[in-house]
Structure formats: structure tokens, C-alpha cells
Symmetry: C2
Subunit: 150 residues, 2 copies
Amino acid sequence: MRYAKDVSDVEEPEPSLASRLRLAVVRLNRRLRAQRTDSSVTLTQISALSCLYNWGPLTPGELAAKEGVQPPSMTRVIAALEEHGFVTRRPHPTDGRQAIVEVTDEGRRFVRAEVCARERWLDQRLAALDTEERAVLTRAAEIIDRMAGQ
Amino acid sequence: MRYAKDVSDVEEPEPSLASRLRLAVVRLNRRLRAQRTDSSVTLTQISALSCLYNWGPLTPGELAAKEGVQPPSMTRVIAALEEHGFVTRRPHPTDGRQAIVEVTDEGRRFVRAEVCARERWLDQRLAALDTEERAVLTRAAEIIDRMAGQ
DNA sequence: GCAGATCGTGAGGTACGCTAAGGATGTGTC
DNA sequence: GACACATCCTTAGCGTACCTCACGATCTGC
């Protein structure tokens, strides 16, 4: 059921793309966070770990920038990942202020194994789509990442 | 920079669609939440209000189900929206346990006006895309919503 | 009536962002 | 060399948003 709209309201006959995209993203994000595995690694930590996995060693500041969060937020994520043994921190060779965060072998194993397991829910949903729909989502992921990234 | 992969690891030469979609959604969601307007209405509240706007009066339980959250979480959202005067609660005509939550005229005005203003950031980003990319996102929003919805 | 199911709510906990402020290190200027 | 200033990371504190567990009120079947 939808509320009747003014006859004069013709410039927006249905929810805008922004509205629909926002709702879709918020909803999917909630579902993704709700997928708890027994492991105590959170979605935010996985996201940062994947970033390090894909980009190689980074400083905390660089990692925060790539993830689009403020440096203080990343500090806690790195600390949790370090406690899990998934990343290590070593001093920067030339700049004593900075540090280098790097994925450990165990972290790489985790990315390749646990992460996939964690994404089982999403994988199942994606598997239920047809090829063309998956192609749409693949392109959408690129576009969204470009839009939100940086 | 990417870590070299095992030669034998050919079944997944790049991050899976699930991985990329998850990263894109998490990142965009963070950006959306970071868009604070002066109004004190949060993204979660807007999402629920939009749902009521589109579907008509619902009980708290139905609303929670549509948004994909647990009923206790929705209780607080409804209370906040009621405090803003955007929704009203009236008793269920036949079932004393339930309640009916409905958008007020002010709430409808808010959805049509303030929500769009709040989405200015996303609108600007979307405007920078070309027609074909927006079409991809429109379809993707439908697909994601169907995947995450219910 | 009364037991059990259902619905909404209250309480408490965790995750995850933010801003503000502090401490350590680098850098430019005199 | 010493000082002022910038930069980087971290700590502290706050707010939002979700969860689970537990409770009271109400409906339903016997």
C-alpha cells in the first residue's frame, strides 16, 4: 500500500534512486553484521584485514583512509586484529611516528578460509540469483566502491 | 600491491562477488551514516519512517520484520519517531497486545522534504555517474532489497 | 478459568563510529 | 643546537544501533 500522491507531484512519481539505494544498502549491511560465526572477529575487522590482504602492508593512517574511517577508529580495529594474531606491527624504517601493519601468515589463512565461511549466507543468496543479476551486482559493487571510496 | 597467489589457486583469481559486494556495502553504509544533518533524526529512524510511508500503518512487530531487526530494537526507534511527532501509536482494534504505528502528516512532510535534503550527499555522487551506471544501481537496489528483504 | 503462546517493552551488553586531547617524532628556522 | 610547529598514532569519552534475555499484558485452546 502506498499513500496517494498529489496530482501535481509529478517530478518524482516514485522513491528516488538515492532513497532506494540507501534503503537497500542499510538493510543488507544489517544482515551482513547479523551473520555471526563462532569466531569473535567482527565485520569491521574483516573489512580492514581484507584491505591489508589486498593492498599489502600499510600504516594505520593509510588503512584508515582506505576504509574511510578516522584514524582513532582504526586503532581499535588494528589492536583487535593484532590480539587475534592476524596482523603484526613493526616500526617504520625512516619515520618513528608511523608504524607498518602487515598481515601474518595466520591472517592470510583466515582471510582465505574463515572469511569465505562467514560469507556463506551472502553466497547462498547470490547463488539464488541468475547470471544477469549477478553481473548487475558486480558492476554495482564497482560503482559503489568508486562512489564511497576515497 | 597484491600478494602473490599459489599457482594452484586458480578457482578464485580475484575477490569473490560476495567479498566485493560486502566491502562496497559496508563502506557506503559508513558514509551514509556519517552524513549528519542538523536534524536529530538518525538513519535508522529515517529507514523505518520510509518503510511506514511506503507500506502504510504497521504493528511494531511487522515493522521490525520488514526492516530486518528484532522487535526490541524497533521499540526504541518508534519511541524516537513518536517523540518527533512523525508517527502515532493507537491500539489495535481487535488485539489488545498489539499496536498500530502510523505516519502523521508531519511525518509525511518530513519524508518528502527533509529526507531528500539529507540525501544530498548521495544525490551529488549519483549525479556524477552516467545514465548507464545509474541504471545498474537501480537494478542492483532492487536485487539487493529482494535478497536482504524478508 | 487456567496454561501456554504471542506481542511489546525494559534492561544490559557489544560493536563501531565520532571528536577532543595528549605524547612522540619529524621538520623548518634562527 | 634549540625552539616552534606540523604530523602521526593513540587514549579517553561519547553517542548510535544492534543484539539477547527477561518481564508484564493480552489472546487462545482446553
